[in-house]
């Protein structure tokens, strides 16, 4: 069939006529789909976690038949490449072009900080994965909830475990020299030293350091253990070199929530066995929701979900809980925000609720690397229930201190 001008005019005219008919039939806002934005990282060095974020959220929505609280949902995905400026641009695109009504993400602290103003200005309910402490502490964003954790939330619990249970007295810390690493080490140091321990060595290699040899050569061995505050692949690279230098067995290694993530473990061997880490999640958590999630994720992708996959899956459950509480009326932003912060919901990480700053109060798990069914897993060996971002400190006292950094809390016990 040839497409003549006449036919074109007819077709176009018909389409036009149809669309004018369509307008009066347009459904009310209630039955329109809810537009969910996911800001993640699908290219660049952080892509491994970012892709997991999308996979898990897609799985969550599929399991709910793309319907939350009785309303259809549509997912729009933005890729920030982990670059803060691009996160800001992509977010604007999601809001202005795709008209998203709620945001899940972003992944990295710097991206969250870069988007902070815009989120306030647009009054966009945001369920963050990024850990930036002050976004729920000294400079809280009213449109922000975080169902994962702050940087130091798990590290503070781990410090307690190291001192009380493992009986470590002298420790070192090493972390990426970025806000996330500094905040994690700060939290670890504060709790460990307040309980009576001593941090005798602190190291902050640059995020993109090609080689950890310099730092390993300085590694003190007359200590009980070292805390790793690495993100992404750095913990894995450090630990490999740690073994090459024959330090394994001389110094115990404990890690923060991203140091020996499931994503890292799947490329490691027996050298990782026995390492203890703290995180708000583990694929090994024994609850029915998690078992279902892990089984389905494993079947689809052939590996265990870790930190990032669990993050969006948890945020999905939080979103669903809040939508149910407001009967799906996401259009009333203030009511929806209130519901988001007020809910208590069961998720794959256990029960989740929020403090007045929008940060999660939830379990922190102490995990140990073991081999099960032929693969390395983070087995839960101890649970700290309902951990707050302020640990056991009084909230107002906590907020009077500066945010955790390289220099706070001050290191008084360093040895040369």
């Amino acid at each position: 069939m040839t497409f003549t001008r006449r036919r074109f005019v007819k077709t176009a005219g018909g389409a036009l006529a149809l669309s004018t008919v369509g307008v009066p039939l347009r459904a009310s806002a209630q039955s329109e789909p809810i537009r969910i934005g996911l800001m993640t990282v699908k290219t660049g060095p952080l892509a491994s976690g970012g892709i997991d974020m999308e996979r898990a959220l897609t799985q969550f929505l599929k399991e709910h038949n793309n319907t939350l609280a009785g309303r259809k949902v549509e997912l729009f995905v933005g890729d920030s490449a982990g670059v803060p400026a691009q996160a800001r641009t992509k977010l604007q695109e999601l809001v202005e072009r795709d008209k998203i009504q709620v945001l899940i993400g972003p992944l990295a602290t710097a991206e969250a900080l870069a988007s902070d103003d815009y989120i306030r200005q647009q009054q966009l309910p945001t369920l963050s994965v990024a850990a930036a402490e002050d976004m729920t502490q000294r400079n809280p964003n009213p449109w922000f909830v975080r169902g994962t954790s702050t940087s130091s939330q798990s590290a503070q619990a781990l410090a307690d475990y190291c001192y009380q249970t493992l009986k470590y007295k002298r420790m070192a810390t090493i972390a990426d020299d970025i806000a996330y690493g500094q905040e994690m080490c700060g939290g670890f140091q504060r709790v460990f030293e307040d309980e009576g321990g001593k941090i005798v060595q602190k190291m902050f290699p640059p995020l993109t350091v090609p080689d950890y040899a310099t730092y390993l050569a300085q590694q003190k061995t007359n200590i009980d253990g070292i805390f790793l505050g690495f993100a992404g692949s750095n913990g894995f690279r450090w630990y490999k070199q740690f073994n090459e230098y024959g330090l394994k067995g001389k110094v115990n290694v404990v890690g923060g929530m991203t140091a020996f993530d499931e994503a890292v473990l799947r490329n490691m061997g027996d050298e990782a066995l026995g390492i203890i880490t703290a995180c708000w999640y583990s694929a090994g958590i024994d609850n029915p929701l998690n078992k279902k999630f892990v089984t389905a994720f494993r079947n689809e992708w052939k590996y265990d979900p870790g930190f990032y996959a669990a993050a969006t899956y948890v945020e999905g459950a939080v979103l669903e809980g809040a939508l149910i509480a407001v009967n799906g009326k996401i259009e009333d932003k203030h009511a929806f925000m209130k519901a988001l912060r007020g809910i208590k919901v069961d998720t794959v990480r256990g029960p989740v609720s929020f403090d007045v700053y929008g940060n999660v109060v939830g379990n922190v798990y102490i995990r140990k690397v073991e081999r099960k069914e032929g693969r390395l897993v983070n087995t839960v060996i101890y649970t700290y229930p309902n951990v707050s971002q302020f640990w056991k400190y009084e909230e107002r006292e906590f907020l009077k201190n500066p945010v955790y950094s390289r220099d706070w809390p001050p290191a008084k016990n360093l040895e040369n």
Partner: protein
Amino acid sequence: MQFWIIQTLNSLALGGLLFLLAAGFSLIFGLMRIANLTHGSLFMLGAYVGVTVLAIVPNLWLAALIAGVSVAVFGGLLERLLLRPLAGNALGQVLVTLGVSFIVADLCLVIWGGDPIPLTAPSSLQRPLVIGSIAFPAYRLFVLGVAIVTAIALHVLMDRTRLGAMIRAGVDDMPMARAVGIPVSKLFTFVFCLGAALAGAGGVIAGPIMSAYPGLDADMLPLALIVVILGGVGSLLGAFVGSFIIAFIYTFGSALLPDLAYVILFLPMIAVIAFRPRGLFGRQIS
């Protein structure tokens, strides 16, 4: 004392690694006058090809060889198909290499995924070498050895063969080299392939230390740049000396003044540019 010995060994090993990376970069820069910004990507591509080869045959030598050859082919195609049409347009060529580096980075992500993948060192080199109270990874000494052998081989190629003489002539005075009948065009392709092969094989050799991961390209490229600017463009000796200077500065700098690790790394480069714009061993380029 132990600190100084280990850090010196560390510096030597890192220097060897940097030389494998920077030698090719320097040759390409010197002959073709373009900063090949895909060099980091070629290094990463080599590491990833190594990963695939090692998954089939657990032999690091074979992996380095195959990675070197395949990255050389890739480099040759890049030179012939993309850079050649832009001959004479240095800025355009640099931008193309930058664009290709992004494409390679994303292709690697699609093919090999985003997780870091370790390359396994030969089992005989996996154990640390223990002398008295000092433990040092045997593999790093091996890397240093590889770098020295490579340096000698390149030196012989450049200083003792007809091909090397032609390349040197091309670096020093290209119009004159053309005038006396040296096939500069073919030399371009050869040098580009050679540089790419060195980077690709270097990626595999560095693999057991650094692993293959997205972002490896961007981590390595600035180091190659610093070494070459410090040592002098197009000079093999410059790349060699520059690699070890940077390695020593970097290792001791980040050990003694950790907060200033990057300042210390780039400071000598700025000083050299200010006082010796051609680098330590760079010659007048026409």
